[in-house]
């Protein structure tokens, strides 16, 4: 592997501005700026069809941006795609290794493509590391979701990339496997790897160093978890007590109420306009219920952002 001589000295693994992609009339990714520091786990969130996959594909040279400039690992995203491909590990949303090859054969194939030095040992190391060693002869197509995901992770790590792009890696994977997967991601980041990961799970979002939220191709918010929560300026009340179902119906569509979410024995009511929300609550307040203002959760924030985006862009 050639040394990253062409890389400009920077502590940013990804540094792009104004990245735009259109498919026909539709602008799928709209002028996105993103800076990801080296060694950081960056969470990329957003509803289905918001342009996450498209954006990642532009980062690793699979799609050509219609507008925008920037670098990935110091290489120009428009002109140095071949260099980027050599140093990036990309895990596609849909499993895209060979279903008719065994685990080992898939890893061997990828290792050969990247001319990994001492291939045999590298493949064995990667099998061991991800606990695939005693299944190495299994045909990939017969693996369950969790094992396929491990294989995919092993395969995109085998050439020791400096940046990992993971597109919904944990979709359809059970909680224990997800937990182990994230432990692995944190270990990799601790070793200096940069990770950009898309997910729909809030608990995963909270395990990222920083986050960005995308909807309709627009980047709506970004920052650390605390920054994102603070920037949302969302007010949330938690209510406990009897007959919450009736209360929920009463509250919906009232001024200032944007979300009414029922949990087991509590109701969360949120809105961006704190004054109007408080006024509405004062009007419907019933002494049988226990009202408490709480900090908004990430999910509340994202849903609020999406509703706002729907008004603006859809």
């Amino acid at each position: 592997m050639s040394p990253p001589a062409a890389a400009t000295p920077t502590d940013l693994a990804i540094d792009v501005t104004g990245v735009t992609k259109r498919f026909g009339e539709k602008t799928v990714v709209n002028a996105i700026d993103l800076a990801v520091r080296r060694g950081e786990i960056y969470g990329f969130l957003g509803p289905n069809g918001s342009g996450k996959t498209t954006f990642i594909r532009m980062l690793c040279g699979l799609l050509t941006p219609d507008a925008g400039t920037g670098t990935c690992l110091g290489y120009d995203v428009r002109s140095q795609q071949a260099e980027i491909k050599r140093h990036v590990g990309y895990m596609t949303q849909k499993f895209s290794y060979y279903e008719d090859l065994s685990i080992r054969e898939n890893l061997d194939f990828i290792a050969r493509i990247y001319a990994v030095p001492d291939r045999r040992a590298a493949v064995q190391r990667s099998l061991d590391r991800l606990g695939l060693a005693n299944r190495s002869h299994q045909i990939a197509g017969q693996l369950s979701g969790g094992w396929k995901q491990r294989l995919a992770l092993a395969a995109c790590l085998i050439h020791e990339p400096k940046l990992l792009l993971l597109d919904e890696p944990t979709a359809g994977v059970d909680p224990k496997a997800r937990r182990e997967f994230w432990d692995e991601i944190h270990q990799l980041a601790a070793d200096g790897l940069t990770v950009l990961i898309t997910t729909h799970y809030m608990d995963e979002a909270e395990r990222c160093h920083r986050l960005a939220y995308l909807a309709y191709g627009h980047l709506l918010t970004r920052g650390t978890l605390a920054e994102v929560l603070a920037a949302a300026k969302l007010t949330t009340w938690s209510i406990t007590g009897p007959d919450l179902r009736t209360l929920a119906t009463t509250l919906r569509d009232r001024a200032g109420v944007e979300q009414v979410v029922a949990f087991g024995n509590t109701l969360h009511v949120s809105g961006r306009d704190a004054a109007r929300l408080t006024a509405t609550i004062a009007a419907v307040r019933d002494p049988r219920h226990d009202w408490k203002q709480i900090t908004s959760g990430l999910e509340d924030v994202f849903i609020s952002l999406m509703d706002e985006a729907k008004d603006n862009f859809a």
């Binding site: 699979l62 990309y90 596609t92 895209s96 493509i113 001319a115």
Partner: protein
């Protein structure tokens, strides 16, 4: 700009081999097709048909005429199912297809023969299928020279003349390039390779795209040329298995003569196999899905079998068909195979058919590499 590297090419080659090994059905078909075609074309389709229905119109009752009829009968090619003296009826039989031939022996046959005037025997042939009539007519010509050898002894021997005592005249536009099993079996080599090689690689890239593995492949530094050559090389091995299978059958089952050099045939086959694989790859880069790819392959296969000189004698085809045929690799390969096996051609004789194959290969490869998209755009 990153250049071609062998390790990436090799990665593709090995991967394709493993996938081929796993896909037993396809591999079975690759081996089964040559066997099936050998059965069909080699056995079922008899291209040296005998006992063809014929009508006799004999106006001369002399012994020479009888000898001639007897000789035609024993040649096995003719089954005289009608005898008539009426010319119009004879024509009708021919037109209806009741007979393939009408053989006319004129009234003064014996007289002319004895005078040494080379009487004309008119053979009217239904040459709709030249492959069917060709061998029979060839037999007649062979028979003409010797039929009266016993009947014209001593002083009459002068009548034997060097071009035979009888002038057989054939009324039919028929092709002299008669097809026999010796012609068909070597020809099958080109047909089988065209069919299987094009289809197998036509699927190669559309399959990766349909299964989603293309996205991964494109995310690696692999180059178009490496992918394409990597996908071609394993199937060259399969192509050679097919060539060998047909040669073995040709020799042991069909007794096809092998006059020329087999090593030469093996070497030049490489060009033809590669050309067909490259065509398949090119289709594969053009097709949106596997079904389209197969359709394109079939579209290429039809002229390759019909206009290459395999099905019909090449020189019997209209000019446009010959022009199309000349652009197809199979046309040139057929001539090479038949040339080497049957005529004992060497390199210099087949060279004129080699460069069209080479040109074809280069063009197909270039289109394939150019059309291979390196992004998902």
């Amino acid at each position: 700009m990153p250049r071609f590297t062998f390790h990436r090419l090799w990665a593709i080659v090995l991967k394709e081999f493993i996938q081929m090994k796993r896909d037993r059905v396809t591999f079975g078909i690759m081996i089964g097709i040559p066997l099936m075609q050998l059965m069909m074309f080699g056995f079922a389709i008899n291209s040296d048909p005998r006992h063809l229905p014929a009508a006799l119109r004999v106006a001369d009752q002399g012994p020479f005429a009888r000898t001639l009829v007897q000789a035609l009968r024993t040649s096995d090619y003719f089954a005289f199912v009608h005898e008539t003296s009426d010319e119009a009826e004879a024509q009708r039989l021919l037109q209806l297809g009741d007979v393939q031939f009408v053989i006319n022996i004129p009234a003064d046959f014996t007289r002319q023969l004895l005078r040494g005037e080379r009487p004309t025997v008119l053979i009217e042939a239904d040459a709709t299928d030249p492959a069917a009539t060709g061998p029979a007519l060839a037999a007649v010509n062979a028979l003409a020279a010797t039929v009266f050898n016993r009947d014209l002894p001593g002083p009459l021997a002068r009548l034997r003349a060097k071009d035979g005592p009888v002038d057989f005249r054939v009324h039919a536009h028929y092709n002299p390039e008669n097809i026999t099993q010796f012609n068909v079996v070597p020809g099958l080599m080109g047909v089988v390779l065209t069919m299987t090689m094009v289809i197998i690689t036509a699927l190669a890239i559309t399959r990766e795209r349909e299964r989603g593995t293309m996205e991964n492949l494109l995310a690696t530094p692999v180059r178009p040329f490496e992918v394409i050559v990597g996908k071609i090389l394993p199937y060259i091995v399969v192509g050679y298995i097919q060539v060998s299978l047909i040669l073995v059958a040709a020799h042991f089952v069909f007794d096809v003569p092998m006059v020329g050099s087999l090593p030469l045939l093996y070497v030049v086959s490489l060009l033809f196999i590669a050309a067909n694989l490259a065509v398949g790859i090119t289709f594969s880069t053009l097709a949106k899905n596997q079904l389209q790819a197969v359709q394109m392959a079939f579209f290429f296969f039809l002229p390759s079998i019909l206009l290459s000189g395999f099905m019909f004698p090449f020189r019997g085809m209209p000019d446009w068909a010959q022009a199309v045929g000349s652009c197809l690799p199979n046309t040139h390969f057929l001539r090479i195979v038949r040339g080497i096996l049957l005529k004992g051609n060497g390199f210099s004789e087949i060279a004129p058919h080699l460069w069209p194959l080479l040109v074809f290969l280069v063009i197909a490869m270039t289109i394939g590499v150019k059309r291979y998209r390196q992004t998902l755009d």
